[in-house]
Amino acid sequence: MSDNDFYALMPLLLLAGASVLVMLLIVARLSHRIIQIVSLALFIVSFSSLVYMRDLLPYPIDPLFVIDDFGVFMIGLIIFSGLVVNVLSYIYFEEKEEGPKEYYVLLFLCTLGACVLAVSGHFVSLFLGLEILTVGLYALIAYLRKRKHSIEAGIKYLILAAFSSAFLLFGMALIYLQTGTMGFSEMAGALADVATIPPLFLMGLGLMLVGAGFKLAVVPFHMWTADVYQGAPVPVTAFIATASKGGVVAVLLRFFVAIDGFRFAGLVFLLICIAIASMIVGNLLALRQKNLKRILAYSSIAHLGYLLVAFIPGSPMVPQAVSFYLLAYFVTTLAAFGVVAVLSDRESDAEELVRYKALFWKHPVLACILSSALLSLAGIPLTAGFTGKFYILATSLRSGFWLLGIVLVASSVIGLYYYLRVITVMFSGINDHVPEPEEKHPLFFGISMGVLSVLTVLVIWLGVFPDGVISFVQQFRLR
């Protein structure tokens, strides 16, 4: 292993090392507060290690990894969301009955798994990353093990994720049978001169799509989403919604671009069906929900559908649009879940819509953060979500996918209704002037609010001055 290999793998090594370090700290019986601060520092260190990699790129580490600017961007996003989740966790878990320390070990492992996915160029690293991520999530989802919903969610996720991993593995095996290789680029070579897709390969690809579909929670593989989002602790839900999906999207994109899957009409048709179904079903199911976590779950189904719209055209614009949309979606989703986490108390999460009544007058700042996040999810101008949607529409219309564009627009109109409903609840009712209980952890409350404010500023910044980020993501080339 050369020095450069070492530098290129630095973020992954740091994350792996961090989990071990935190484990040692737990053995040393340090307090929750210290562990929280140390892991925060570790996240920051691994995030900043990305900066040193710029000159190296692109840097393939054969055969497992391809470290290019798209991958590093995705790693950055994933570590960033891990960092935000980490910050939000203190207040949330300090109140809870379960000892929170081991939580941080799992968080590092999951982040590591997602990052491995983002740079993997080989089935082995893909599967390894996915399993590191998923196994960690089993435990994280059911972390508050005395609660019925958590256990239900944990079991549900365990069974479905295990199933989908099996599908994925079988699919990989079939593809290996057809092409005789597990590396993406070698596979592309094996497929370069076939006009129609070989049946075994198609079969394998279909099975892989089932597996990936489960992880991404796109229709028709979305059944687990609402229950798991609701049952998992809020910071973990935020992590599932962002980092775990981001990693899978990244590897899927890399795989598709490598084998140039966009030239097979049948496959594209399949993806179009999945995208349309996700957009429509996700938005429709969210309409009647009364629980904010469930609303956000269904909305995430729809958003993955939107993301597929950017994915399908297969043009050079795809990596840019996907990266930008993921950035916008990550920032927005983290802000939304952050507010839920901060408002949650010892007994229950702030998930019922009733609890948000008159929030505008009780906690104007939190309410503004949540509304800007929701407006961004709805895709209203001045927010990141609008620029992201614009990017997606531009990508798909440029390649002539008008149907997808129209469905996207129509379904986001449906989506407006439930986002607005949450906002309406927040300003309906009047302040009952019950004095708010004294904040128990002023320091961490301050940090959380600071992070949430930064996220909100980012949401608006990306909506008003997106040019910097756009010209950055425009350099991404996957081939």
């Binding site: 505008f360 007058w361 407006l375 209203i380 101008p381 001045l382 609008f386 529409l393 531009a394 219309l397 440029r398 564009g405 129209i406 627009v409 986001s412 109109v413 407006l416 209704y417 607005l420 309406t424 300003f427 309906s428 997106p466 040019d467 756009i470 010209s471 425009q474």
Partner: protein, 505 residues
């Protein structure tokens, strides 16, 4: 620079009001008043300064413009520019803004900071819409005015406010998104034709679009503007939104938001798709007439004063639609006049409705009656604006509707005949307002105070303007003339404009 300054004043004023509202309940309204007055004065000075230039400017020469790069990767620029038409509408925007602040002076006591923030941001959005010369920027401002309006209706409205706010938002947003698709379609067609991907209005006006596609793209734009205007099948959000909004909200909705629809048709639909617009001219005029008659009939059957006024808007906006698609100078000048006078007369009626509601705590006309004896001033002014609404000569609306009918007569005989019956209907509903509310036996008991000084100022400003527009509309006509002539030339490249100029000098 002036143009950007106008928007900055409003947006910054809004933010300051929001912050100042934390300390003192009356700071925000002063801030709002100062910022809207400042904008108004700037524009007025500019208008007076430029009034010679305004009338002669021809071709695509803007009076003043401001351009700055925004999102270069997609060819989006921050390009503001105005011609005479935009200038008129901007002046109207700030005028209405001042009145809106004044008429919420006492009405709004709760959460004043957030209220004036929303008010000023709506104005900023509207002002931006009237200035934007980049289609992306236009859509951006189009949406910016939406959210604050949603809050305005949803928080400070009356009983059924939440429903009305939803309806308003979803109607306008859905239609806006269709427009956005059409904008993107235009963007890519232009890009494919020329290799230059840009949202610039000036460049896109020359785009060669296959006529089959042009119809669809134009429909995308038309839907958005038709919902805003509103054109009859898309009008159902309007009575709810107008009825439930606070007074200032109704004033801005009627006075400004509806006008953005008309402006959009004049500025975008016709110049971008002249061919396609000509194909739909007759159906559009029929829809306009349907609006005139239908709005008037429904207005007559309302018992809720604000809903009544809302339906009169539908009727008056029917004239606008008919005038736009008559495609000649007379009718288009009438449209511009109608835009301005309708804002003033209907705005005044909404303010009156608000004032009556403040005193009687009801909008139900069956519970009113004989208010003239108790409030002679309010009665007189109410009479003036009811007359303006029915198009009495001497008041601005007469000029507007007369010009539109005259122009439409050239374009289509029978449609105009039906439309002219609208004048009779409007007399019926306007007189009903006067009779039900101001005349007849007294219903309410107890002393009701007449106009306060602040209310006098508001009403005086409105009355003076409507009479001025009725007696001497020439400045407005002159200001709008270059823009109107350009539109006509676009539609009838070979027609002799000179011969028609004798009608409207």
């Amino acid at each position: 620079m002036m143009l950007a300054l106008l928007i900055v004043i409003l947006m910054a004023g809004g933010l300051t009001a929001l912050l100042a509202g934390k300390w003192n309940k009356s700071f925000p309204r002063w801030i709002a008043l100062i910022s809207s007055t400042a904008g108004f004065l700037i524009l007025l000075l500019f208008w007076i300064d430029q009034h010679q230039v305004v009338q002669v400017s021809s071709d695509q020469n803007w009076l003043v413009q401001y351009q700055k790069d925004w999102i270069l990767s997609f060819g989006i620029t921050f390009h503001l520019a105005i011609d005479g038409l935009s200038l008129l509408l901007l002046v109207l925007t700030f005028f209405m803004g001042i009145l809106a602040v004044l008429c919420s002076w006492e009405e709004i006591r709760e959460r004043t900071g957030f209220y004036y923030f929303n008010l000023l941001w709506i104005l900023a959005g509207v002002a931006g819409v009237f200035m934007a010369m980049d289609l992306f920027l236009f859509y951006f401002f189009w949406e910016v005015m939406l959210i604050p309006m949603y809050f305005l209706i949803g928080i400070w409205g009356s009983e059924n406010r939440v429903y009305a706010a939803y309806k308003f938002f979803i109607f306008t947003q859905a239609s806006g998104l269709l427009m956005f698709l059409a904008i993107l379609g235009l963007y890519f067609i232009h890009g494919n034709n020329t290799g230059v991907y840009t949202f610039s209005y000036v460049e896109l006006t020359g785009t060669v679009i296959p006529s089959q596609v042009a119809i669809w793209l134009m429909m995308g734009f038309m839907v958005a503007f038709a919902v805003k205007l509103p054109v009859v099948p898309f009008h159902t959000w309007l009575p709810d939104a107008h009825g439930e909004a606070p007074t200032a909200g109704s004033l801005i909705l009627a006075g400004l938001l509806l006008k953005t629809g008309a402006y959009g048709m004049l500025r975008f639909v016709i110049p971008l798709f002249p061919e396609a617009a000509r194909q739909v001219a007759v159906p559009a005029m029929v829809l306009g007439v349907a609006g005139i008659v239908y709005g008037a009939l429904l207005a007559y059957s309302q018992t809720d004063l604000k809903r009544l006024v809302a339906f009169t808007s539908v009727s008056h906006m029917g004239f606008v639609l008919m005038g736009i698609f008559a495609f000649n100078e007379l009718a288009l000048q009438g449209v511009v006049m109608q835009i301005v006078t309708h804002a003033i007369s209907t705005g005044a009626l909404f303010i009156l409705a608000g004032m009556i509601k403040e005193r009687l705590h009801t909008r139900d006309m069956n519970l009113m009656g004989g208010l003239w004896t108790q409030m002679p001033r309010l009665g007189t002014i109410g009479m003036v604006f009811a007359m303006a609404s029915l198009g009495l000569p001497g008041l601005g609306s007469f000029i507007a509707e007369f010009l539109i009918l005259l122009g439409a007569f050239h374009a289509h005989f029978w449609i105009t005949v039906v439309a002219a019956s609208g004048l009779i209907f409007s007399a019926v509903y306007s007189l009903r307002i006067v009779q039900k509310i101001f005349l007849g036996p007294e219903k309410g008991a107890g002393h009701i105070p007449d106009f306060s000084r602040r209310e006098m100022v508001i009403m005086a400003a409105l009355t003076v303007s409507i009479v001025w527009l009725g007696l001497y509309p020439q400045p407005v006509i002159n200001t709008a003339k270059p823009a109107v002539v350009r539109l006509v030339q676009l539609l009838q490249p070979d027609s002799d404009i000179k011969s028609e100029q004798s009608y409207v000098r």
